[in-house]
């Protein structure tokens, strides 16, 4: 029998690692992600294909502008941009949509058994599934351009995904909480993400950036994550581990902070009548 006990401040003791609860949470996550995916293609002719059409169109724009107009000399430019776009889009949608996690899901959070903290996780998971859907196309590009893809290093990709997953979720928690206090967070985050898109080197090489700005670029975790994908998939080299380890440590510190903040804010939000 499950037992719940709320004390002052509303904390309740519960076996967190109760097997039944964990498996139920997974089922719930699956339903929420499934719902997001279904809703996305329900009322459109092309359906789930949009997850591919969008980055491909972006890719065409960048290739046209930078390859043919500005004649950039980055090797394997389409693969280079497509890798960046897919990874960046995952980050972008995760953060942008997580920002609304609390505010847009009041009805769900007001259900007694519902764990609100699952919402950003489901958003990030949905984005990840889109990334997975797009993977075969990316692979096609890589093979077509015969990049130096290193099969042995491919095992790092899941680790990179896990890292980005944790980073996005913790940032998502923070943004969603901030959005409860300040409703303009969701508008601001759109602009900031747009700016970051240009500063992350999605369509150009970081090594072309003047040296005095290098530190600024190095502080952006997505620069390292996208860089790591590219070194595995395009140049076939092992990504430099130090920045990734630092990001992992920071994410793991950020996660419990964001989680706590999120839980407090979502509780506060549903109390407001």
């Amino acid at each position: 029998m499950m037992q719940r006990k709320y004390r002052r401040r509303g904390r309740y003791r519960k076996k967190i690692f109760d097997k039944r609860v964990v498996s139920q949470r997974f089922d719930l996550l699956r339903e929420l992600v499934g719902r997001d995916l279904k809703v996305m293609y329900k009322r459109s002719v092309l359906g789930i294909a949009w997850t591919l059409i969008n980055p491909v169109l972006q890719l065409i724009v960048f290739v046209l502008v930078f390859k043919f107009v500005l004649s950039i000399d980055t090797p394997n430019y389409p693969s280079f941009v497509f890798t960046g776009l897919l990874v960046w889009n995952w980050f972008h949608t995760s953060l942008f949509q997580s920002a609304m996690a609390i505010v847009a899901n009041r009805a769900l959070i007001r259900q007694p058994n519902f764990p609100p903290a699952i919402l950003p996780v489901s958003t990030v998971t949905t984005g990840w599934i889109h990334l997975i859907f797009a993977m075969p196309v990316l692979l096609g590009f890589l093979l077509l351009e015969s990049t130096q893809i290193h099969p042995l290093f491919l095992f790092i990709i899941p680790l990179l995904m896990a890292l980005q997953f944790i980073l996005s979720t913790s940032l998502g928690y923070l943004l969603a909480s901030l959005n409860v206090m300040f409703r303009d967070t969701q508008h601001t985050i759109g602009v900031i993400l747009q700016l970051l898109f240009y500063l992350t080197g999605v369509f150009y090489e970081i090594k072309n950036v003047p040296e005095k700005y290098e530190l600024l670029y190095n502080m952006n975790p997505m620069v390292h994550i996208i860089g790591a994908y590219r070194s595995i998939l395009i140049t076939g080299t092992l990504p430099s581990p130090t920045p990734l380890i630092i990001i992992a440590i920071l994410s793991l510190i950020l996660l419990p902070l964001g989680y706590t903040f999120f839980c407090n804010q979502s509780t506060r939000f549903v109390e407001e009548l």
């Binding site: 006990k5 709320y6 002052r8 401040r9 498996s23 139920q24 339903e31 007001r110 259900q111 007694p112």
Partner: protein
Amino acid sequence: MAKAIIVESLGKRFKRYHADRPNTIMAAVLGGFKRLKSVDVFWALRNISFAVEPGEMLGVIGSNGAGKSTLLHLVGGIGQLDEGSVEVHGKIGALLDLGASFHPDLTGRENAFVSASIGGLSRREVKRHLPEIINFAELESFIDNPIRTYSTGMKMRLAFAVAIHTNPSVLLIDEFLSVGDMRFQSKCLDKIRELQIGGCAVLFVSHNINQVKSLCDTVLWLKSGAIAAIGPAEDVTQQYAEYMRENAAESPTSERQTQVVPSSQSLAPQAKQGNFQSKDIVIESIRLIPGFEIESGQSMTLEIGYLPLKPIHNAHFGISISQSNGNICFDTHTAQANFKTGTLQEPGTIRLVIERLDLAGGQYFIDVGIYEATWSFMYDYYWHMHELIINSSASKKGILNPPLVWQKV
């Protein structure tokens, strides 16, 4: 067996914020962060203690804003307590905000699946229960249509069916009986009874006293965040009904933006300050001419007999006609017609002539009140003082039955 719900000296505090509390980052930075703090706090609930045993149904009654829903949510683990503790043993099923989590573009089946998962069922359990849920909701032929094509009643039926099939051992119900038609409602009640007999503890919030009385074993009456009474359903509902009758003046007068203080003398004698129902002038009688049963559209005269106990200058007389559920169909008073009563010293009669009473057929009641000249308190008031039956050959639906003609042009 152990209790299913134990609530101990629960307290819940709400904060009131500055009216111009910044709610954008920009405003917060410009205005300084000081106005982010709350200006004062009030207790929505305080010192609430009760327990519910498995198989018991506890009714929660009280007027709007008494804290009923807040209590239900806190028991459901939504929101934080500021004092005391809540213990819930077993899985919570909730009939709160029914259907609010449905997505309009998904089909009934898909929504049922998501809702049941939110309700705490595993995938396998949902699969097993889904036919049962659809069958209960009587939506077999619509289940694969998007929810946006459903009527409100259909949505409610589906939401209820899902909630009731999550095998709860503690059930929280908030005013659910707007669900579907009478037949479906009684089906829901049967299902709730069935769960209850199977050992489910039920916490039932309702405004419908008769329903609470017939369903619940014990009733908790909340009054502005505190327990006014808790005990056997019969006793508490009766006390509550009496209290409500005496406070019935509250709604019509508040519409007039006046400050009539509601009476609560029989329950809280210490609160009586002579500020309400001063009885300086009392209503002695009411007469309906031609009688208490008239034809729709007929004229009617009402005579209020009053007895001043001391000279009263310019009192207002008010009359309203309401239905048994408290709906006010018609409300008028002397001040509206600019009618001055002058100084009242002797017993007398005030007469209201209604030239046509175009109400639809049915049972109504006459409410009568005498108010102080500035509306600051009432001298005397009777809710449902006299019955009024209106006969009509036309439909008994609706409230109005005006003279009318159909024409083809």
